[in-house]
């Protein structure tokens, strides 16, 4: 915890510090690229940063690099280059932007990234596996799939002690134990279990803080916008997992959000409607996409993105550092499984958030680029509406490819959604409290 600060310095600190940490992170990656220092390529769902830090491997998150090209409005250049190389317009835009970045020698708008010395990834997204195979072919590097068995059927998760859970956990732990010698070889460093304990302790602080921050958004007005501010926090949660900077950041962020909640300080939006976001943000028009909601008084109080793209850190799972590898396997299994559940079985999660977070409407945003997130969203929405009378909006675009983002169409749909919300509120205030109207845009 940092020393007490005055309110003006405290409010907005998370966003400023997050931006500063990002710059620091990319400077480090640029330095690694220039000096040829070994680095690890990882993904947001199960990055294993705790383990990689033991070997002083700088971590590169290609998903974050790719989305940054979209936010900076140059993604189309990268996508075109990868498509010229042979990749289909119908595959993941993140993959293509990364392929182009590799063809450019690691050059990105934020700086230069090092070539991978190893790729470590889970199966949380099948595309991770195909993606890593591209680096394997390009650079002849070792690639390590850490296979995490997910939930077999909705509501059918098993937990520590159950034979099926233990079958899964032992499989994950065995894979981690096999990974360690490869990491030793790539980094030239011996495995140090005490350094792992240290990184896991930092990850515990981060996960605890992340969970608290998400919960603090129950506050009215909401203390952060889960779509925009949340994405900044998410970047730190991924890039600095297992690092002291990450732990300190989330300790500070909890302090800031607690202060805001206690003092009724919300976001810059005049909060009229509290919304839940389901899917991946529209990065090619990130700011404008958010404004289409905030201009109408809508702020996102929850987002499934903050669950799955944090690799399940939202659960606040804390490792038992007395049994580090066993606990790392358990935490990885539970966290990544939850991340997958937030994509495949999210209806229950959304339903459970509606009342505690005072959600007025749910916005589904499936994207062309990502089947993992988007395949089941239409059905999930049907299930939500069958279970609960809550306004919802279903809009499709993309997280990378501006060719499939129609700003005018999005705005029309979003405006109509808010008209529905306003009308519903007016009608509700004119009716006895126990009557209901069906809705859905």
């Amino acid at each position: 915890m940092t020393q007490a600060m005055d309110a003006p310095a405290l409010v907005g600190r998370g966003n400023n510090d997050g931006a500063q940490l990002f710059r620091q992170w990319f400077e480090g990656l640029g330095e690694a690229a220039d000096t040829g220092r070994p680095s690890a390529y990882v993904f947001v769902m199960g990055s294993l940063c705790e383990l990689l830090r033991v070997f002083d491997l700088p971590v590169v998150f290609p998903e974050i690099n790719s989305l940054q090209t979209a936010v900076r409005r140059v993604a189309h250049e990268y996508l075109n280059e990868a498509e010229d190389y042979g990749y289909s317009p119908d595959i993941c835009g993140y993959v293509k932007a990364d392929v182009a970045a590799q063809l450019r020698g690691g050059s990105l708008p934020m700086g230069k990234i090092p070539k991978p010395s190893i790729a470590v990834y889970t199966n949380a997204c099948n595309t991770y596996i195909k993606w890593a195979e591209i680096w394997e072919r390009m650079y002849r590097i070792p690639v390590a799939t850490i296979d995490i068995p997910g939930t077999r059927a909705e509501g059918g998760q098993t937990w520590p002690g159950h034979p099926d859970f233990e079958n899964d956990r032992m499989y994950v732990e065995a894979q981690l134990r096999e990974l360690i010698p490869t990491l030793e070889h790539v980094s030239g460093m011996r495995f140090d279990v005490d350094r792992l304990r240290e990184a896991m302790t930092h990850a515990n602080t981060l996960a605890r803080g992340w969970q608290q921050v998400l919960e603090l958004n129950r506050s009215r007005p909401s203390v952060f916008n889960a779509l925009t501010d949340g994405t900044i926090y998410l970047g730190v949660a991924n890039g600095f997992r297992g690092a002291p900077e990450g732990a300190a950041y989330f300790t500070d962020l909890v302090e800031e959000m607690t202060y805001k909640a206690a003092n009724g300080i919300g976001t810059l939006t005049d909060e009229q409607y509290r919304l839940s976001f389901v899917g991946v943000p529209c990065y090619p028009i990130f700011r404008r996409f958010s404004e289409m909601f905030t201009e109408q008084g809508g702020t996102f109080v929850t987002s499934t993105y903050l669950n799955f793209a944090s690799g399940g850190a939202n659960l606040g799972y804390e490792y038992d550092v007395r049994r580090p590898l066993e606990s790392l396997a358990e935490g990885l299994l539970i966290g990544v499984r939850d991340a997958m559940d937030s994509m495949f079985h999210q209806t229950r999660v959304i339903l459970n958030q509606l009342d505690p977070f005072g959600v007025d409407g749910v916005v589904y945003h499936p994207i062309k680029s990502c089947r993992t997130v988007s395949t089941g969203l239409a059905d999930s929405r049907r299930a939500l509406l069958a279970a609960r009378d809550v306004p919802s909006l279903f809009i499709e675009s993309d997280m990378m490819d501006r060719r499939v983002v129609s700003e005018a169409q999005l705005k029309n749909r979003i405006d109509a959604f808010f008209e529905g919300l306003a009308s519903r509120r007016t009608q509700a205030s004119a009716r006895p409290a126990d009557s209901h109207l069906p809705t859905g845009d």
Binding site: D90, T151, T375
Partner: protein
Amino acid sequence: VEPTHADSRFGSYLCSIVKTSLELALSDRVRMDLFVTHPICDAARNLAAVWGRNVPYPCEILYLPQNANARHAPVYLRGEYDRLRRTIERATGRTVTDADLVRSVRVFNENRALLRALYALRRESPWLLGAHEAYALVAVGGMIPREEHNALLRHVLPLLGDRQVPRQDKVRVVFEGGFCEQPPLDLLRAIARSCDVVDDDLLIGMRWILDEVPVNGDPLGALAHAYLERSSYSPVQRVQASGAQAAIVTAAKMCEPGLEEQVGYTRALEHAGVPFFVSEFEENMTSFEQLEVQLETFVENLLFD
């Protein structure tokens, strides 16, 4: 199958097979007591969840290992098969014993042996049966009890060998890209007009295990070992093993893994000096003229090169 019910359960930009599969259930064409999918792709992993929200019977994923190199993978997979055994016992209300499993393994061993014989015939005498004919013979096995499929193949295989068909001078090719969604039969017929398809990855799951699964000992352990250690391989190897002159590298429309692998496969084929023809298909496509003309041009280029 038109996905009239299933369309509203899915977003855009998806392959056809997830929609038409669910349609079979929603339209009551296929009645089931249990649905099991596996994580072949991200759409398939979503499929169990979508299916489960729409039908009253259990729906789940069989989490096949995606890290086949892990030393612990066979142990894990044996446990996963055992979990599925318990699921099946609950769904059927009867115990599945090791003896039951061994009986089933014997049936499937015979089926795979017969399919290997069919594919050997294609490699050695491809003029005796076109790609579409061979495909029909294999595909029917997915629709009838495997014992009946075995009887059918036992009857048909000798007849095929005796078939009086003039030998034609066609290009020997391997067809890749049919590992999940299947191309329409007419597309295979169009290919067969200009090429002898000597190997393919169509319905690869039926031939995934390459030789006999041992029937002595623990059947689930034997199945796990066979799945991981005695299973199918890459298209470049398929080209080499079948003596093909070229490859047709297709992908189902909107199939993420297929489209991604297309790039890797074509680079590998390029490296190996194997000519290839790249295309996409959809199970419900009805027009093949353009593809046939392109393929004929490809074949002519090979013949006159």
